[in-house]
């Protein structure tokens, strides 16, 4: 009985996403009239989305921005995590606690002063403005420090006795060992940044710099009742995230689980 309930509930949960795909394949007249299976399936909506708007450009923009943020964030966070976990220096705990206290600060809360600051720095409508302000977050530092705390210290000691520099220890020993957590975080960061909306909305109004979420949200304004086009565009934007999900599901779940262990 519970089996049936679980399965039904799971299918019901996923059904809006299925509906989106089905609507994207329907002709305008059919969207509200037929059930889940389109009677005259068409890919015209997708054709429209890719020809009427520079959608490929938007996707490349987003891929570039999300990818850069992911790589830069992981590099800096693993460096910092390594230092906090494995190096001794005065003020280490205080600084870490200070960083930890920024957890409470979400983008939504500092959006106004952050915008003004970034504007003064001349980064409005630039890739730098899209990337830098959202790369720094205590979350990654915290998780990586936790991970490095778990690595046996002998590996590091042995290398240092052999005369290795701290950078060599980090680059040649710590980094390769942290592949599991780095891949989990990479998937997570990329996903979050592919789906980002508020910051791109705030910092760009140049259509050449549009990221995909911004594009489909504006799409809605222009084509307000053309739901077939809007759904097709949404499918295009959602597909990379769903692919990431199916391929890297384990890593995604891992990063969420480890973030719960405070």
């Amino acid at each position: 009985m519970l089996i049936f309930a679980t399965a039904t509930f799971a299918i019901v949960t996923a059904s809006p996403l299925v509906w989106m795909v089905s609507a994207s394949l329907k002709e305008p007249g059919e969207i509200f009239n037929s059930g889940l299976i389109p009677q005259h399936p068409t890919i015209d909506n997708f054709r429209y989305v890719f020809t009427q708007l520079p959608f490929v450009r938007y996707m490349m923009n987003t891929f570039f921005v999300a990818g850069t943020i992911t790589v830069v964030a992981l590099l800096f966070h693993s460096m910092a995590g390594f230092a906090f976990a494995r190096l001794q220096f005065p003020g280490r705990e205080t600084i870490f606690l200070t960083i930890f206290s920024t957890f409470l600060v979400s983008l939504q809360v500092i959006i106004v002063p952050l915008f003004i600051l970034v504007q003064k720095m001349g980064m409005v409508n630039t890739y730098a403005g899209l990337i830098l302000p959202v790369t720094f977050n205590a979350f990654g530092i915290f998780l990586l420090r936790q991970f490095y705390l778990g690595i046996p210290i002998d590996l590091q000691e042995a290398a240092i006795i052999d005369g290795a520099s701290y950078w060599a220890v980090y680059w040649n020993i710590m980094l390769p060992l942290s592949r599991p957590i780095l891949s989990a975080l990479a998937v997570f960061f990329f996903l979050v940044n592919w789906n980002a909306f508020l910051w791109p909305l705030t910092i760009t109004n140049d259509q050449n710099l549009w990221l995909v979420q911004l594009a489909i949200a504006s799409f809605q304004g222009q084509y307000s009742a053309a739901w077939n086009y809007i759904m097709a565009a949404s499918v295009v934007v959602a597909v990379p995230t769903l692919v990431l999900f199916f391929v890297f599901q384990r890593q995604l779940v891992e990063s969420i689980k480890t973030s719960g262990i405070k």
Binding site: Q108, L198, L252
Partner: protein, 303 residues
């Protein structure tokens, strides 16, 4: 001279320098893009910023305006209702799903994935899908309701129903995430406790209340804290509202964080928006302090 140099760079000094270099990028980044805006957020509220970037000190004028602003008060009310409904909603659905997906039944991996799938897709896509599905009369949801004999309603057009609709969509989106959190907490409970209880003849309900719930306290604390903070200031509080309802109809879904954005970027009242944001920060801090105090620092001693 060589000797003096070598004596200065002791092992610990070298280590300190290396450490500083390692943490330098993140520290600078956090300082510039998080800490400084935080400080500015608190001080900007005392200024009035005009459209050309000019600043004028206005003391408590923005705060006075807040107290007299019916729309701000309305947004506070909407936010309170939203938080009070969302936190328990997410707790129950997260825990429920967590328990549900622990069963050893066929295809449980598939069901687990399906519950988590909404979270993977962006809030903009979520907003667009539901906006279409909830359309008056011809939308998918209303047509299904009519099929089973219930009356369809204007879910996003009726100010009395819109916040409820937003809450349902939000829970649909987030429940997979909290399912994972609870799953992780549930898996930490040693199986022996349940086995011992079963030998003693305890009922499922008793096992739930005497074993599961108490041992889930750290997880529960985490869930309540995180869901409360994100209910007030999380991205779903903004993105979903902006795309799905734009605060309407009649400001019935105008959450505080959305109203702040509107004031800043639609009406160019940056100082006023910053003042309101600082109020939100203070409230969040207060809530966190209360939560920590109530649970004695979030530390749980497990027998």
């Amino acid at each position: 001279m060589q000797q003096a140099g070598r004596v200065f760079w002791t092992r610990s000094r070298k280590e300190t320098l290396a450490a500083w270099l390692f943490i330098f990028p993140d520290c600078i980044g956090l300082l510039v893009f998080v800490a400084i805006p935080m400080v500015l957020a608190l001080s900007l509220g005392f200024f009035s910023v005009d459209g050309f970037g000019g600043y004028r000190f206005v003391g408590l004028a923005n705060y006075n305006r807040m107290l007299r602003d019916p729309l701000f008060m309305k947004s506070l009310g909407v936010t309170v209702v939203y938080v009070l409904c969302l936190v328990p909603g997410l707790y129950i659905s997260g825990l429920g799903l967590g328990l549900l997906v622990r069963q050893r039944i066929p295809l449980i991996g598939l069901w687990r994935s399906l519950f988590f799938m909404p979270y993977v897709v962006s809030l903009v896509v979520v907003a667009l899908i539901w906006k279409v599905m909830l359309i008056d009369k011809v939308g998918f949801i209303n047509r299904i309701l009519e099929l089973i004999g219930l009356r369809g309603r204007s879910w996003l057009g009726d100010p009395n129903l819109s916040l409820g609709a937003v809450l349902v969509v939000t829970i649909w989106f987030l429940m997979g995430y909290y399912m994972i959190i609870f799953l992780s907490g549930l898996q930490d409970i040693p199986r022996e406790y349940y086995e011992a209880a079963r030998i003693d003849g305890a009922s499922s309900w008793k096992m739930f209340t005497q074993i599961t719930l108490p041992l889930l306290r750290p997880t529960s604390f985490f869930v309540v804290l995180v869901s409360t903070v994100s209910a007030v200031s999380g991205s779903q509080a903004f993105d979903l509202i902006y795309v799905m309802t734009n605060g309407g109809p009649a400001n019935s879904t105008s959450l505080v964080i959305f109203y702040i954005y509107q004031q800043a970027f639609k009406f160019n009242s940056y100082g006023y928006a910053a003042a309101m944001a600082s109020v939100v920060v203070v409230v969040l801090l207060g809530m966190s302090v209360v939560l920590f105090a109530l649970t004695r620092g979030g530390r749980f001693h497990l027998q």
